[in-house]
């Protein structure tokens, strides 16, 4: 089985969120880049587990980003990817990124294309769904369980207030979230092996962006907490009812 795992670099979850150039760009100064947690912990690790069950499986990684993405690709290779492709584009338009991934996907014969449910920076949750439209493949989103048997995938996905199980004939696209797998730490053997695993850099295909970021802003800070004494719960209820008007 051939799996294409889409990975994205994102700022570390504790990174300070600030903007530069008149609030038009994310301030990357001092930012630690990580693999988007949904891509790494759930999608990539599940792909690795599938390979552990069936060693004939190939795991290809794809990322769309500049040279600064290479450390996170090496980490993904150290965790267990077999080879990687970096499309050299710094676009932050989901459509452009999806077109880059689709162009690579068309060159391989992938049974499974895996993404995280969204990135923790732009939170757009677009890539999987867009790939399904461009490649005309089935798509199951927010999956928390995946089993593959021959060319048949059994997937559990989140629905409001529960889960449902779907069966899909491969090839397909799946977006992964918590429950799918557990976070792993790369071991020394993996880190050494990753140094020599193939990492191909390709130029992006020409695509016009559909959107552009005009300005970033930070949410207004709270005006300050109103403290209520522990023995004044009637007062708290009154405030919630009459001041906040939420109950």
């Amino acid at each position: 089985m051939n799996i294409l795992v889409c990975i994205s670099k994102t700022p570390d979850t504790t990174a300070k969120i600030a903007f530069t150039e008149g609030n038009t760009k994310f301030d990357e100064n001092g930012v630690q880049w990580i693999i988007n947690p949904y891509d790494e912990w759930y999608s990539l690790v599940r792909a690795i587990e599938l390979k552990e069950k069936d060693p004939t499986t190939n795991i290809h990684l794809i990322t769309v980003g500049g040279p600064e993405s290479e450390p996170i690709i090496r980490k993904a290779l150290a965790l267990g990817g077999d080879e990687a492709i970096r499309v050299n584009s710094n676009s932050n338009d989901s459509y452009v990124i999806a077109q880059q991934i689709a162009a690579i996907a068309k060159q391989g014969s992938y049974d499974l294309i895996m993404t995280g449910k969204e990135t923790i920076d732009y939170n757009s949750a677009c890539i999987g769904s867009m790939l399904s439209a461009i490649l005309d493949l089935p798509f199951v989103s927010l999956a928390n369980h995946l089993e593959v048997n021959g060319n048949n995938a059994t997937i559990q996905r989140e629905i409001e207030g529960g889960e449902e199980t779907n069966e899909v004939i491969l090839p397909m696209i799946i977006s992964c979230q918590k429950g799918m797998a557990e976070q792993r730490i790369p071991n020394m053997r993996g880190i050494m092996a990753a140094r020599t695993k193939p990492l191909k850099v390709v130029d992006p295909v020409a695509t016009n962006a559909h959107t552009s970021i005009k300005e970033f802003s930070l949410p207004p800070t709270k005006t300050g907490v109103k403290l209520i004494a522990p023995d004044q719960m009637d007062e708290l209820v009154k405030l919630l009812k009459e001041e906040a008007k939420v109950i």
């Binding site: 459509y95 923790i120 439209a133 207030g161």
Partner: protein, 320 residues
């Protein structure tokens, strides 16, 4: 025309779609065009009543097989319907199904898309929509450069508006593509309020010390009619089920009221809940960072404060 996709499950329209209709109707007002809704499948709701939310028409593809969600099939039908109806803006709720299909519909229509939108478009310099980014820690104003636009609106970010309209229902006929997924099982947690749909949420953290102490929290949630949630350490320790984990890597929610009990308020947790309208923090540590993000705070022992709060709510409900 603004076309709003109606999401439903078990023959009931989802609350998030009501909000999407009102949001779409407000955009239609800005653009001076009509707001019309699109329903794939069948529901028990009175569709003419969607006029009260701002839809003048409901286009319905009346086919039971569409009641099971299939992202590929649904996206394809919505795109075809939008083309046939010449829709300029297509609106989705940024909920579970909306996330799965809105981007695919945008690709099929050559439309730019903004998901996680939290404002009406600004039409002064083209068409700009503000969305939440960095898991709620910031906003970005995104310009859509294409003639057609797709917007998925964050839940609980616009609200519902009232109109004096009655929607007319128009049946639509489109060939239905072959199913791409087969639904084999549905497992709903009976009697619980789904977190993402909840207006009121009561959430617990490590400060509650162990799963055996959750009773006071459940009692408060029951009295309030609230959904229950928890922090990451709690779900990682299996004190509570994974689907209750809210935070940056769990579920992001935006209820009217979020009550955090024994949660210190790590930045990753705040990212999942900071769009809540009102936040109440109960913690015995006055230095807990969560107090900085809270509207109301109680510095005290959860095991005394929570039952007292439950009693106070009970009393208030009794007096109503």
């Amino acid at each position: 025309m603004v076309l709003i996709y109606i999401d439903h499950s078990e023959k009931e329209i989802k609350k998030s779609s009501y909000e999407a209709i009102s949001y779409g109707a407000a955009i239609a007002k800005q653009l001076g065009c009509s707001a019309e809704a699109l329903l794939l499948g069948t529901v028990n709701d009175d569709l003419t009543a969607l006029g009260k939310l701002g839809a003048s028409k409901v286009h319905q593809l009346n086919n039971e097989s569409l009641n099971n969600f299939d992202a590929k099939v649904h996206a394809s039908l919505i795109a075809t319907a939008a083309k046939n109806l010449n829709a300029e803006v297509i609106v989705f709720a940024h909920n579970i199904n909306g996330k799965a299909i809105a981007p695919a519909v945008a690709v099929k229509l050559d439309a730019g898309i903004v998901t996680g939108a939290c404002s009406l478009p600004n039409l002064q310099n083209g068409f700009e929509v503000t969305k939440t980014v960095f898991s709620g820690k910031a906003f970005a104003s995104i310009k859509i450069e294409t003639p057609k636009k797709v917007i998925a609106i964050n839940q609980n970010s616009f609200g519902i508006e009232n109109y004096e309209l009655s929607a007319t229902i128009e049946e639509m006929n489109l060939p239905i593509p072959a199913a791409s997924v087969k639904l084999t099982n549905v497992n709903k947690i009976i009697g619980e309020i789904p977190l993402t749909e909840a207006n009121l949420v009561v959430s617990g953290g490590r400060g509650l010390k162990g799963p055996e102490n959750w009773g006071i929290l459940l009692e408060l949630a029951k009295t309030l009619g609230a959904a229950t949630a928890c922090s990451r350490p709690v779900s990682d320790s299996d004190w509570r089920p994974h689907h209750e984990h809210v935070g940056q890597t769990g579920i992001q929610i935006a209820p009217n009221l979020y009550i955090a009990i024994g949660i210190s308020g790590a930045i990753q947790h705040l990212a999942g809940v900071n769009r809540s309208k009102t936040i109440v923090v109960i913690n015995k540590d006055p230095e807990a960072p969560f107090f900085k993000a809270a509207d109301y705070g109680v510095v005290g022992d959860a095991f005394e404060v929570v039952p007292a709060l439950t009693a106070a709510i009970s009393k208030m409900k009794h007096n109503e």
